[in-house]
């Protein structure tokens, strides 16, 4: 779980996950408040990036650590209380029935503009996913091995880039509908201004276009996992 300046919500989120008996890793992305202390006191393993890397790379820190600890299945969620720990069971259920990547979607949220962007990127990339920005996901070990690669570090957002990666690996991506809470504090970090939205759209379009043509799965896996230990 990536977290940056989430002292208001982190304790509740961590406690709710711990209460269900899961192990939780919180990656503090150079917070300037008490996020680390709150998370640690609530029973999380806390990793701390010395510099702000953004939500996706902070998540990757957690994925790399979890992989090192030998976890087979990892669930990512937001620290702002948007996702409910009780819904983890819904994702796990899909995993048990054969999914490699499970995405908790909530298409009720978001503006019209966001829905148009979702649809555009979904169809342009031939993705089987409606809610591409959802941070509530389950990754299996095959997915994790690729997500901890250097190539994945190049990505800025977990949305398109990660999903395209999963698509190229021909993984079984499944979506399951989960209810999400409204953000208690603040607004989306990625979409904080129109300029940021514009950059995000340009970035995602560029990435989608560059990755548009099919790749050889085995060559792709070999290429991105060869350096995974570094």
């Amino acid at each position: 779980m990536p977290a940056m300046n989430e002292e208001a919500t982190i304790a509740d989120v961590v406690s709710s996950v711990v209460a269900l008996g899961y192990q939780i890793i919180v990656v503090d992305d150079a917070s300037s408040d008490n996020t680390i202390i709150e998370a640690r006191n609530s029973g999380a393993i806390v990793l701390s990036n010395i510099q702000n890397l953004g939500a996706w790379k902070a998540t990757q820190t957690g994925l790399r650590y979890a992989d090192r600890l030998g976890f087979e299945v990892i669930i990512t969620m937001d620290a702002d209380g948007q996702h409910n720990a009780d819904n983890i069971a819904l994702l796990v259920e899909q995993y048990k029935s054969g999914a490699d990547v499970v995405i908790g979607n909530c298409t009720e949220r978001g503006s019209i503009g966001r829905h148009i962007a979702w649809l555009f990127f979904k169809h342009f990339n031939a993705l089987n996913v409606s809610d591409i920005t959802s941070g509530f996901r389950l990754y299996s070990s095959t997915a994790i091995h690729c997500l901890i690669s250097r190539e994945a570090t190049m990505l800025e957002y977990q949305c398109i880039g990660v999903l395209i990666m999963m698509r190229n690996l021909k993984l079984n991506i499944v979506e399951t509908s989960v209810p999400m809470n409204r953000r208690g504090t603040g607004i989306s970090r990625i979409f904080h201004s129109w300029l940021a939205v514009g950059y995000y759209l340009a970035y995602s379009s560029m990435l989608s276009f560059a990755k548009a043509f099919p790749t050889n799965k085995n060559k792709y896996i070999a290429r991105i996992t060869r350096l995974k230990k570094h």
Binding site: V27, V46, L47, I50, L53, T61, Y65, R150
Partner: protein
Amino acid sequence: MTNPQIVSSVIGLILAIVIYWLVRRDHLAPRQALRWVLVAAIVLVLGTFPIIIDWIGHAVGISYPPIIPVIIGLGAALIKILLMDIQQTKSQVTQDRAIQKLAMLEAEIEYLKNI
């Protein structure tokens, strides 16, 4: 020797001296300095003997030969900037991964301390 010739050969010489000084004071690694020595040598030779450009222009049929070094220079700069961006991407990824690794190792040390 005409005045423009003197000026351009002086530029080449100054470039060579600056590079020598930068390497000597450890501001520039020898690896990068080699390229710049090459650039300085080219500037010096072409500056002193601009007639070479005219020969080349005549040989390949360019009616305004002075444009040749401009085009080659711009092309080389463009390629170099592209290579620098690739290098920058690589360094950025390495740096980000080092930050991640640091966080991982720190957590591991904390864990080992508490055993």
